[in-house]
């Protein structure tokens, strides 16, 4: 009804009065600074990254960079760093996302029922997520310290000194798992908060009906709660995956991508290539590849967000 009235009004005004045009122009005036800013500082750099990635600076100080087409990409794909980057990024993103979401969901189920301390307990439980990334990373680096760290002490008490003295961050077999555990702890409260909010909208009468029918709690979670929260779960998985794929702080502070590249993911490798080896063209190429890979996650995210925008439009 509203849209009909709206379009009538539009039709009435547009042929003669310029007031509508003036309003549209004024709207664009408000929009312009933000659009120009985003274009100049986000999308133009993205275009430039593609351009830079197609150049190469020959060795020698005074030499200018020359156009080489896709040569950098061919180097990357045929070299061995690409393989471990893909494997590490995939494992890192997968395990961190699954860990954060499973933990966030289960904790949300546990915290759904309220009592006097609910507010304060929730404030404490989201602290890891609120903590600056570098602080969490420094803390976990210290947690894994083989002599003084909390983790080694707990393990030593439980399983004896051999496991307790392990250098988790210095061992290529355990370093990636160690940073994944730290990242799960750091980021799970985001999923926790969303799932806690989502649980508010689960239809209580359905849960009660299932309980009357004699369904046990795990059954109710699987057949009633999860299906009705499907859109929330999908969005949370996408968001945490995008954040995790791009997350630099934790790994850089804890391991700098080492030992022997075993914890390098795209952001850390790009930083090292660009600002450690000053190979800007190659770093740009890795950046473009990272963005291209991220599109796998970005496209469904955009579709999801635009769908809800269209519904309200």
């Amino acid at each position: 009804m509203r849209s009909l009235a709206q379009s009538n009004r539009r039709r009435r005004l547009s042929p003669f009065g310029s007031s509508r045009n003036r309003a549209a122009r004024a709207g664009l005036l408000f929009l312009a600074p933000a659009v120009l800013g985003v274009a100049a500082l986000v999308f133009w750099p993205l275009v430039q990254a593609v351009w830079q990635s197609m150049h190469k600076t020959p060795s020698g100080f005074s030499s200018a960079s020359e156009f080489v087409g896709f040569a950098n990409y061919i180097d990357i794909v045929s070299g061995n760093s690409f393989f471990f980057l893909i494997v590490n990024s995939f494992a890192w993103t997968l395990f961190v996302v699954v860990g954060q979401n499973v933990m966030g969901f289960l904790f949300a189920l546990a915290f759904n029922a309220r009592w006097q301390l609910s507010g304060i307990l929730r404030a404490i439980i989201i602290l890891p997520w609120v903590l600056p990334g570098v602080v969490a990373a420094v803390l976990w680096r210290f947690m894994y310290d083989p002599q003084l760290g909390l983790i080694s002490s707990v393990l030593e008490r439980l399983f004896g000194p051999e496991l307790g003295r392990s250098q988790f961050l210095a061992d290529t077999n355990t370093a990636l798992a160690a940073v994944i555990v730290a990242a799960i702890w750091k980021g799970f409260p985001f999923a926790f908060l969303i799932y806690l909010a989502g649980l508010q909208n689960v239809d209580r009468s359905q849960v009660e009906a299932a309980t009357m029918d004699g369904a046990r709690f795990p059954r109710i979670v699987l057949s009633v709660i999860i299906p009705s929260m499907r859109p929330v779960i999908a969005l949370t998985l996408l968001l945490t995956a995008i954040f995790t794929f791009n997350y630099f702080d934790m790994i850089w502070v804890m391991t700098k991508g080492g030992p022997l590249n075993s914890t390098h993911i795209f952001p850390t490798f790009i930083f090292q290539t660009g600002f450690g080896q000053f190979n800007f063209e190659m770093a740009a190429a890795y950046g473009v590849l990272a963005f291209a890979l991220l599109l796998i996650l970005l496209v469904p995210y955009l579709r999801h967000s635009l769908k809800s925008e269209r519904d309200e439009d």
Partner: protein
């Protein structure tokens, strides 16, 4: 779906919280441990006696410089980004459908562009402008990181203003500018606060750009400074942990203050899909 917690559930909730918070308790314990008390191995969760010495010595001159740099950069970025985002959100709201459907997806996309994918060109740009190792370099980079998000957040809040209010004013002949200043702006105060706090939390802890674009110690921000401390401090973990805590306190307080808005936003944002 909300019920009162049973006794077992309450105990369970407390146990979970204690487990999650254990690294934080330990961090605080290490920061409060007197330097005379040696680290025992295996480690203790809490020291036998406590002192604030580590907190006092963490407030050293370099740290004050880092703190000031973080304040300057955060304040400038958040002011510019929130202002442009607020104006942009209103522009988006008043734009023809066609333009809205061009700009809005671009903003959502821009918000998700990985920082690592644009750091090389932004570094080159800043270097060509001769701005490396200045506050302005970081402010420009941080506007790139926050402006899409700021616009999208403000827009999401602004859309909850009933359309009838704006339409009625339009029919009464109010100009686009007048509607902004007299109707939209007063209603947007919570949006500006929420966006401002959120962007502050993001910028305060930004590490990647700060690491790449500050070369001298006098330009370092807190996250980079803290990372430098790891090497310099050797095994002075007490001071390292105290510094970490001092640096976290401002954003933790801001966030706890924002939490109400944030959870509301999640409720409306995450459940409409």
């Amino acid at each position: 779906m909300n019920q009162r917690a049973s006794i077992q559930n309450r105990v369970f909730q407390v146990l979970i919280t204690a487990t999650v918070a254990m690294p934080l308790v330990w961090m605080l314990g290490v920061a409060l441990k007197p330097s005379s008390e040696p680290f025992s191995s295996p480690a203790q969760l809490w020291p036998n006696s406590i002192t604030f010495d580590n907190f006092l010595s963490s407030w050293r001159p370099e740290f004050q410089t880092y703190f000031l740099n973080s304040l300057i950069v955060s304040f400038a970025t958040v002011t510019i980004s929130v202002l442009l985002g607020l104006l942009g959100a209103y522009g988006l709201l008043r734009s023809p459908r066609k333009i809205r459907w061009l700009v809005y997806p671009a903003l959502l996309m821009g918000q998700m562009v990985p920082a690592a994918s644009i750091i090389i060109p932004i570094f080159a740009m800043v270097r060509n402008l001769g701005l490396i190792d200045t506050h302005l370099a970081l402010i420009l980079a941080y506007i790139a990181l926050t402006l899409p998000l700021s616009t999208v957040m403000n827009y999401a809040f602004m859309r909850s203003i009933p359309k009838d209010v704006i339409e009625a004013a339009t029919v009464d002949g109010a100009s686009t500018f007048r509607i902004f200043f007299q109707i939209v702006l007063p209603l947007s105060v919570p949006a500006v606060v929420a966006t401002g706090v959120w962007l502050t939390v993001v910028v305060w802890q930004e590490f990647l750009f700060a690491l790449a674009m500050t070369t001298s110690q006098s330009m370092r921000t807190l996250p980079v400074g803290l990372n430098d401390f790891i090497g310099q401090y050797g095994i002075r973990y007490g001071e390292l942990m105290a510094t970490s805590i001092v640096m976290s306190v401002p954003v933790v307080i801001l966030f706890l203050f924002l939490q109400r808005y944030f959870v509301q936003g999640l409720l409306s944002g995450a459940t409409k899909g």
